[in-house]
């Protein structure tokens, strides 16, 4: 980990190793890639599209999607663009590639060809290489982003950026803690500093690539202050390497007041912390993820969850919304099911587009809470690391000052536990080592006591379990039934 923009020579030296990790690495020619990126029209660039939407108060819609084979992948994305009216397109990477298991991805590709169905849960971009990526980007009319969950995404970034993608999701924290088990944060932050440096390199040459820390983390009852802290720390790490266009994200919790407050506070705190460290020229946009936890199996109910996420995204004023499909509870959606989720979402973003923003004294109050919580965490973490972002993150997680609920990563404390309050807002049932003052803790306890009293039971882990299942069973709060 470093605490400064990586010197060019150092970056170039590391590149050689990165490109050697898989045979397709040699397809990347950085100078040629710059020229290729420069020729991409503004309406196909993520950064330009997002800034336009932000200026016009529009909420863009984007699906997740990826299959093993290029032609099928292109066909899928075309359907989502034309039939689903997606404003932005993804390319979701398969899990083998995410773990740099390119040989296994190869088996998946071969088997997919043989059996005629995609046996991978995403698009193995590294195996396919630069030219294939470009063919995909060129045959579509809207901007494309790489969405994955890769702890070490250096080669993936090299190939897909040379391949013409204009946005890259992830970060050293958000693609480690929820997506890995044994990776150290030192390692993943270092690897992501490389990714951000690569994008900083493009930026230095006049090409803006959008970066998006993965907001929802484990997608399961993550309180806003946790994901906000991660988003801001990752943004600082990215900005330090020269990234100038960042979309910070948040996964819907389901309580309207909390969700609106969360998106607004996220944007406000981003500006404040970027400013504190002198990264004033970074363009900030927001992404709202439709409910990321367990979905109802019934498709009609799933449509309800999707629509509520769409409505909340617009009411919260997010720049874009990531869309789920009615197949969510079962598996990777068909193109048609995916397009259906998009269409439901578009109907709502369009119907809500012209309506006025919602104001509420409770939104103000909730914003104050999230602000205070997030600030508590960030100040404690940044103090511990003496403003060295990487060290702050590593020590912060070690000390449990940031703690992501239900994370698989062993470097996460896994002590903090969330549960919903009586109105469905996500609070803390166990603080672990979160650096909250007594006032803040009393607030959370009172909120859960209010619920416990209404449900005539004790505050306990059973509430957490009930809340995990609640949405999939047709509720928000997991009441005893």
């Amino acid at each position: 980990m470093i605490n400064h923009k990586m010197p060019l020579a150092e970056f170039m030296a590391q590149r050689a190793d990165v490109l050697a990790q898989w045979e397709t690495g040699k397809e990347v020619d950085l100078e040629e890639a710059l020229a290729y990126q420069k020729a991409i029209a503004p309406q196909k660039r993520f950064s330009a599209r997002l800034m336009k939407a932000k200026a016009e108060g529009e909420t863009l819609i984007q699906p997740r999607a990826g299959v093993a084979l290029p032609e099928e992948h292109l066909k899928l994305l075309k359907t989502l663009q034309d039939e689903g009216t997606a404003d932005l397109l993804p390319t979701t990477i398969d899990s083998y590639t995410r773990h740099n298991r390119y040989a296994e991805a190869k088996v998946g590709i071969d088997e997919s060809i043989k059996t005629g169905k995609s046996l991978l849960n995403g698009f193995p971009a590294v195996n396919h290489g630069v030219a294939v990526c470009r063919r995909i980007v060129e045959n579509l009319q809207v901007p494309l982003q790489v969405r994955h969950g890769t702890p070490d995404a250096r080669l993936l970034a090299e190939i897909t950026m040379a391949g013409g993608f204009t946005s890259f999701e992830g970060g050293g924290i958000s693609y480690n803690i929820p997506y890995a088990k044994n990776h150290s944060l030192e390692r993943t932050i270092t690897d992501w500093q490389y990714v951000d440096r690569l994008i900083g390199y493009y930026q230095d040459h006049g090409i803006t690539i959008n970066r998006e820390p993965f907001g929802p983390l484990t997608g399961t009852l993550v309180p806003p202050c946790i994901s906000h802290s991660v988003a801001i720390l990752e943004s600082l790490l990215a900005a330090q390497q020269g990234v100038t266009c960042i979309t910070v994200g948040y996964g819907q919790c389901g309580n309207l007041i909390q969700d609106i407050a969360a998106i607004r506070t996220l944007e406000k705190l981003m500006h404040e912390y970027l400013h504190r460290y002198g990264f004033d020229k970074v363009q900030v946009t927001t992404v709202f993820h439709q409910w990321m936890g367990g979905f109802p199996q019934d498709e009609a109910k799933a449509y309800g969850v999707i629509a509520w996420g769409a409505a909340t995204a617009v009411l919260a004023g997010a720049t874009k919304v990531i869309v789920k499909s009615p197949h969510e509870a079962y598996g990777v959606p068909t193109a048609a099911a995916n397009a259906n989720g998009l269409k439901t979402t578009k109907q709502l973003t369009m119907m809500l587009k012209d309506q006025v923003a919602i104001e509420h004294t409770l939104i103000q109050a909730e914003m104050a809470i999230i602000d205070r919580e997030t600030r508590s965490i960030l100040e404690a973490v940044l103090t511990l690391g003496q403003n060295d972002f990487g060290i702050s993150v590593v020590r912060g997680f070690e000390a449990g000052l940031i703690d992501v609920p239900f994370a698989p990563a062993l470097c996460n404390a896994n002590k903090a536990l969330p549960a919903r309050d009586h109105h469905g807002a996500v609070r803390f049932l166990d603080f672990g080592n979160l650096p909250f003052d007594e006032d803040l803790k009393a607030f959370h306890r009172a909120k859960l006591e209010e619920r416990a009293k209404a449900e005539r039971r004790e505050v306990s882990f059973q509430m957490v379990i009930d809340d995990i299942y609640a949405v999939s069973k047709g509720h928000l709060v997991g009441r005893p039934r």
Binding site: V107, P408, I465
Partner: protein, 138 residues
């Protein structure tokens, strides 16, 4: 009486941790001794854990869609280790996409699994089956 040991874990490169925590909790509540290998568990780790702990059953979870690729040969591996009597269950979102469950069940049974569960199965169903199967084995 000693508690029966069950090995649980999420196979392959799969990191879905939430269901795993609930299965741990539910099996423990139901009186089993749970050996939880967590996420990203290889076939070998499952088998080693069974040998080490003398477990009577394995609950394999696979959520992320690569279950079919990841579980291939698992039955054989158990057999090779002389553990054919160990109950082998699989659940989660075993294959990519929303499909009929029957062919999936067949494929997994052919790979040596005793019981195979569709998406979103209530874990108590798995526990009830486990008790029945253990009773049948005597």
């Amino acid at each position: 009486m000693e508690k029966t040991t069950v090995v649980i874990g999420v196979i392959g490169a799969d990191v879905h941790a939430v269901g795993n925590r609930i299965i741990d909790y539910a099996l423990t509540q139901a009186g089993f001794n749970v050996v939880n290998l967590g996420v990203m568990v290889s076939q070998k780790e499952f088998v080693d854990a069974v040998i080490e702990t003398n477990a009577k059953a394995i609950f394999v979870s696979s959520l992320y869609g690569h279950g079919e690729l990841d579980c291939r040969g698992m039955g054989d591996l158990l057999k090779e280790a002389g553990l054919e009597k160990v109950l082998l269950y699989a659940g989660g979102n075993l294959v990519v996409g929303k499909t009929d469950f029957e062919p999936v069940e067949e494929a997994f049974k052919a790979m040596g699994f005793d019981r195979v569960y569709p998406p979103g199965t209530d874990i108590n169903q798995g526990i009830a089956d486990l008790k029945a199967d253990l009773a049948a084995l005597g």
